[in-house]
């Protein structure tokens, strides 16, 4: 699986106004990458997610999955997207029907469909007997798990998470991150749209920064976050770990400021306190 953006623009059209959300987007993502999209509000992250899923077609340029364009009114097969409040899309009479919806739409049936649904239930950590219950009788957190399972069942290739942790409690956030890591380790490409720098520093192997509808940075998170000026120029803030190391360095400590996560910063700081020569 490979997704390619070639000089893609996207313009929102309405009767009274049209606004350019993305300009000249160029990048390509290979199978198994964990890519984070970050940027200030209104920088075009969600629009980019729509293009990635094939839900929107670029106004100018091309977006290709394995060399093919998305068809109108269709999506890229095998690419799932988890929106911010995925539980708002529930409609099924049973949890089974809900989760089977996208797998069925992708042509699955019979035993394969059943296996996929129960697998998805297991992955999101819900008991298998939930399959016969109504999704509307579940708690908020359970509903969200069902909604995510319903996306999982139809996305063999890649998953897009559009600000998945907004409005979720801390254990829910951790659960979502672990889910993304697990799916990634199984070979799925993961796209993670976020505002949270810690999350990005911890999870992503590649980060694409959007600013004002354009790509401001595309590369290693370490490389981005070790450059304070670049981070500020992109309208972002530093992750806590990187910020701590930079501040302690500015105070005159001879410490290597290579880590960006809190854990990394703790390791660096401990080594420096012990007097190991790492700098």
């Amino acid at each position: 699986m490979q997704i390619e953006f070639k000089g893609a623009d996207y313009t929102y059209q309405s009767p009274t106004i049209s606004s350019l959300a993305l300009t000249n987007i160029d990048f390509s993502v290979k199978k198994g990458e964990f890519v984070a999209f970050i940027g200030p509000s209104g920088s075009g992250k969600s629009t980019l997610a729509m293009l990635l899923a094939g839900l929107f077609l670029p106004t100018v340029g091309e977006v290709l999955l394995n060399g093919e364009k998305a068809k109108k009114n269709s999506v890229f097969p095998g690419v799932g997207i988890v929106f911010q409040y995925p539980e708002q899309q529930l409609f099924g009479e049973t949890v089974f029907e809900e989760i089977a919806f996208s797998a069925k739409n992708h042509g699955m049936s019979g035993a394969e469909l059943e296996n996929t649904v129960y697998d998805a239930l297991r992955v999101v950590g819900l008991p298998l007997d939930f399959a016969t219950r109504s999704p509307f009788g579940l708690s908020g957190g359970e509903k969200r798990r069902v909604a995510i399972a319903s996306v999982l069942s139809g996305s063999r290739e890649a998953m897009i998470f559009d600000e998945p942790t907004a409005g979720v409690d801390l254990s829910g956030q951790r659960w979502l991150r672990e889910l993304a890591i697990r799916e990634n380790s199984l070979g799925k490409t993961i796209f993670w749209v976020s505002h949270n720098m810690e999350e990005v520093a911890k999870l992503a192997s590649r980060v694409i920064v959007l600013n004002d509808g354009q790509i401001a940075f595309d590369g290693d998170p370490q490389q981005l976050f070790s450059d304070g000026e670049k981070v500020a120029a992109c309208g972002l803030i530093m992750p806590k770990g990187a910020e701590f190391l930079q501040k302690i360095k500015a105070q005159g400590a001879n410490i290597a400021a290579a880590a960006v996560t809190l854990e990394g910063a703790a390791i660096e700081a401990a080594a420096w306190l012990r007097g190991d020569d790492r700098a």
């Binding site: 009767p15 839900l55 929106f83 708002q88 899309q89 409609f91 919806f101 739409n105």
Partner: protein, 267 residues
Amino acid sequence: MLKENFLLGQYFPGNSPAHRLDARSKLIISLLYMAALFTANDWWGYLVVTLIFVAVLAFSRVPISLLWKGLRIIVIFVVITVILNSLMIPGERVLWQWKALTVTYEGLMQGFKLGLRLLLLVAFASLLTLVTKPLDLTDGLERLLSPLEKIKVPTHEIAMIMSIALRFIPTILDEMERIMLAQRARGAVFGGKKLKEKLSQIVPLMVPLFVSSFRRADDLAQAMEARCYFGGAGRTHWRRSKWQNRDTVALILFVVLWLGLLAWRLL
């Protein structure tokens, strides 16, 4: 995408003479125009109401392209009206015949008249909401209905319900678009041709839409209660619209129009 094709309830900001009229006069004018539409029964009458519409459109400075976008859906109904009328209405001058189907000149003309009537009706109503802020429209309606308070008609509540309904049309369309995207992302295909396909597409769209609309209604009710809303009794208005000379003039013009058409029809 949906909103572009649905104008009723949307406001087009502006400061044209039509925008500046009092909502009350605009409401009465709309009623008078509708009465005029149903009074006109020959081509001269239809020519007059069409010209009046063009004049009002020019006064409102609403771009015709914007209005056209909203009317495209109605055109389907107009076409159906023309076809059905031309097939159903018997007449003397037969234009076309095939087995049991007959199109007569009289039927075709009747179809065109009804179609034009329908088109102008919706166009004028859309224009009313395009040039009047929803809040002004409600206030106007409430004040027009206020004499009915004496016979215990809950006029404020009626007006409030109407304004909330109008206010939420674009919101619900947005919501529908969002749900469509989410279901398309799960592989649903909208816009199938067969009836069976269409019906199976409706469930994943309508169930979440109903759920979210009820949730929204609950939220709104709570937000209103939290701000001590308790209905009509003793409510005052921050901004009171003023009836001005131009309102009287506009109103007289439309009364004359309607009476003229009535006289033309009866004499």
